[in-house]
């Protein structure tokens, strides 16, 4: 009996040990997080750090494409396959929040020691708010400003410390910098027929005194006319119509465009790729002393209302928010926080660019919020494309857009 008994007890012990081992693993709460961040951007790295804590919550990361975020998310949500956490472009936030697809975080934020609404810039905060409740947490914020190539400025006989201040100056400067024989365009930006085009155009329209509800006002028409002039006179590549901001700025980095309009997400790559002296400046205004404006960009964190682990998901958001301090240093992105002075990085070029963007951010306005934003944005994109291709006059194109936006009820 002895041997048999021992064997049985050993077997039992082994079995219970392995059972215990398995159940310990099964206790880990598994969360799924979707974001469009690449390996050098915040989300995947924050997830790695979070998982390394081994606090009983493991996050699985999935990378999406810019164009796919909303369509993948809504398809997943409507079939009950939504992730727990997602990062969503701020103008699309209202569409999900208004349909209660995102979790109302107001109470959890009220009790949180890490996430406090008063610590965030009003613009980003407004984008996560729907019906006076919080449906997300701003992840980062950005806006666009002007980059310029100081070497090319010198070569064209321009003062590299005096970037253009007004639209007229901008066009004149671009004209001087354009050099077709060397394949250099004066300026590059993006008028692509997606959200990027809207994002790039709205600041111009707003500086002219328009909003998306009055997109056919005189200032916006003037803004679009300036864009058209830059394309018609080949101061910007015709591919501006089809190129994303990231691709457009790549031509600046390669020395094929002397100025670029884009956001702070370019800085890290520019430091690496651009083999010339460059500087940054605020977006030029319609005329001297005119009101400044800018569009507020970047993504928000949100938790889907279908999640089975709202507490754990919020815990993850708290962890992410606690890392806002080092966001600029590590990833070159700006936290949406008013309570955190972004510390200098020690890299003079990076710090001076930061100063420009922080200044520009003061004038940033959110797009919307409107649950119909994709349609509103589409109307604006269509107007931009129709007039830049020369098929409709700027005024008529924006009139059409305004009529469409009105019928959407934006």
């Amino acid at each position: 009996m002895g041997i048999r008994r021992t064997m049985i007890s050993v077997a039992l012990a082994l079995a219970s040990a392995s059972l215990a081992g398995m159940s310990a693993k099964a206790e880990d709460v598994k969360l799924v997080l979707w974001s469009l961040d690449r390996d050098i951007q915040p989300a995947p790295n924050l997830v790695k750090e979070f998982n390394a804590q081994k606090n009983g919550i493991q996050i699985e990361y999935r990378q999406l494409q810019f164009d796919d975020v909303v369509s993948e998310a809504m398809r997943a949500y409507s079939t009950g396959k939504a992730p727990d956490i997602i990062t969503i472009d701020n103008p699309n936030h209202a569409m999900f929040a208004s349909r209660k697809a995102f979790l109302d975080l107001t109470d959890m934020i009220g009790q949180s020691k890490v996430i406090k609404p008063e610590n965030y810039f009003p613009g980003p905060l407004k984008s996560v708010t729907w019906d006076e409740k919080y449906y997300g947490v701003p992840k980062a914020t950005n806006t666009i400003a002007l980059y310029y190539n100081k070497d090319l400025f010198k070569a064209a006989g321009l003062d590299p410390e005096k970037p253009p201040q007004t639209w007229t100056e901008l066009v004149a400067t671009a004209k001087k910098l354009t050099n077709p024989s060397k394949n250099i365009y004066g300026i590059t930006f993006s008028a692509k027929a997606n959200e990027e085009g809207t994002f790039q155009f709205l600041p111009w329209a707003q500086m002219g005194g328009a909003t998306y509800k009055t997109i056919n006002s005189e200032g916006a028409v003037k803004a679009l006319s300036v864009w058209k002039q830059m394309l018609d006179e080949k101061l910007a590549s015709p591919d501006t119509l089809t190129r994303s901001q990231w691709d457009s700025t790549a031509t600046f980095n390669a020395g094929n465009a002397a100025m670029a309009i884009s956001g702070p997400w370019e800085i890290d790559r520019m430091l690496k790729d651009a083999k010339f002296q460059w500087g940054t400046a605020l977006l030029p205004v319609p005329s001297e002393g005119a009101q400044r404006s800018s569009a507020m960009g970047d993504f928000n964190w949100a938790i889907f209302s279908s999640t089975k682990h709202p507490k754990e998901a919020f815990k993850a958001l708290e962890f992410f928010a606690s890392k806002d301090v080092t966001m600029y240093k590590d990833f070159g992105q700006l936290p949406a926080r008013s309570d955190l002075p972004v510390p200098p990085t020690g890299n003079a070029l990076k710090d001076s660019a930061l100063a420009t963007f922080v200044e520009q951010l003061k004038y940033a306005q959110p797009r919307g919020p409107s649950p119909e934003w994709p349609k509103i944005s589409k109307a604006i994109q269509d107007a931009i494309q129709a007039s830049l291709t020369g098929q409709t006059e700027p005024k008529a194109a924006l009139d059409q857009a305004a009529a469409r936006i009105k019928s959407i009820g934006g």
């Binding site: 690449r38 999935r62 993948e72 079939t79 394949n183 994303s244 990231w246």
Partner: protein, 275 residues
């Protein structure tokens, strides 16, 4: 003109045409070998000044391409196997008879592939998710590709069966074979070449399938190379040398297989196996 001179002229002419036709492919290989600055040089160089072989290692490592290619292979083999099993018999029957029901069948088969995958994906996704099939994402994609490509396979293979003389099958039946026996012993071996070639063509298509995989396979572990290429290209279409290096590693294996088998494929296709 002598026979010989004529042949040489035709050969030269066809080589020139092939060179023009294959230029896009050549451009892919050359771009993959260029450095970042040479890529955007004007005028473009038609031969890399210093071939950057390290690009391949870099892209292979950083994109984890081995896994992507493995998934593409699994999906393509699965789809071809399923299509061949389901489609061959269907094509055989549609070739055997000539009546109104065959017309209806052919018509339906074409109608079934009318919509591009980009529009079929929504209903399929909704249906699969309700059946729980999305838990097995590669299987789900295999099923979707099968539905997508089978009609084409049936159309091709049906033509092959048309070339098999009816009398042979009838003779086998008279000799006491059952229908099943006649099908497997007589008809199928005769149509083997055409079926094989059609299967290879379907394999190549399934290897590059994109829309279904992109939407149904969320776990990066199971994604095929097409989805990998898309997530690579997505935000930065300026790193053309890396993108082309990726494309090179993606298509070169199938191109190699194709070139090795091409005599067989071409003769299989042209010897009347298909018409």
């Amino acid at each position: 003109m002598s026979e010989n001179a004529r042949n040489r002229l035709l050969l030269a002419l066809s080589i020139v045409m092939a060179a023009i036709y294959l230029f896009p492919l050549y451009w892919m290989y050359v771009t993959a070998l260029k450095s970042g600055s040479e890529m955007f040089a004007t005028p473009p160089s038609f031969w890399p000044s210093a071939a950057q072989w390290s690009t391949f290692a870099y892209v292979w490592e950083s994109r984890n391409m081995g896994r992507y290619l493995w998934n593409s292979t699994v999906i393509a083999f699965g789809a071809v196997a399923l299509i061949a099993i389901l489609g061959t018999g269907c094509a055989y029957v549609l070739a055997r008879y000539r009546n109104i029901w065959v017309d209806v069948g052919l018509f339906l088969i074409l109608m079934f592939q009318v919509l591009p995958a980009s529009l079929m994906i929504t209903p399929i996704f909704v249906g699969f998710s309700q059946l729980g099939l999305l838990e097995y994402p590669r299987l789900a994609v295999i099923l979707a590709i099968t539905a997508k490509s089978m009609p084409f396979f049936v159309v091709l293979v049906r033509a092959t069966f048309m070339a098999v003389p009816m009398e042979l099958e009838e003779a086998a039946l008279v000799d006491g074979n059952s229908r099943i026996g006649a099908f497997f012993n007589i008809v199928l071996p005769l149509a083997r070449n055409g079926i094989l070639v059609s299967a290879i063509l379907i394999f190549m298509q399934a290897f590059g399938e994109f829309v279904y995989s992109k939407s149904m396979i969320q776990d990066i572990q199971f994604q095929p190379a097409s989805v990998g290429l898309n997530s690579f290209m997505g935000p930065n279409t300026s790193e053309w040398n890396n993108i082309m290096a990726y494309a090179t590693m993606y298509v070169t294996p199938i191109l190699a297989i194709f070139v090795l088998l091409q005599r067989r494929i071409v003769s299989g296709l042209t010897s009347g196996a298909l018409k």
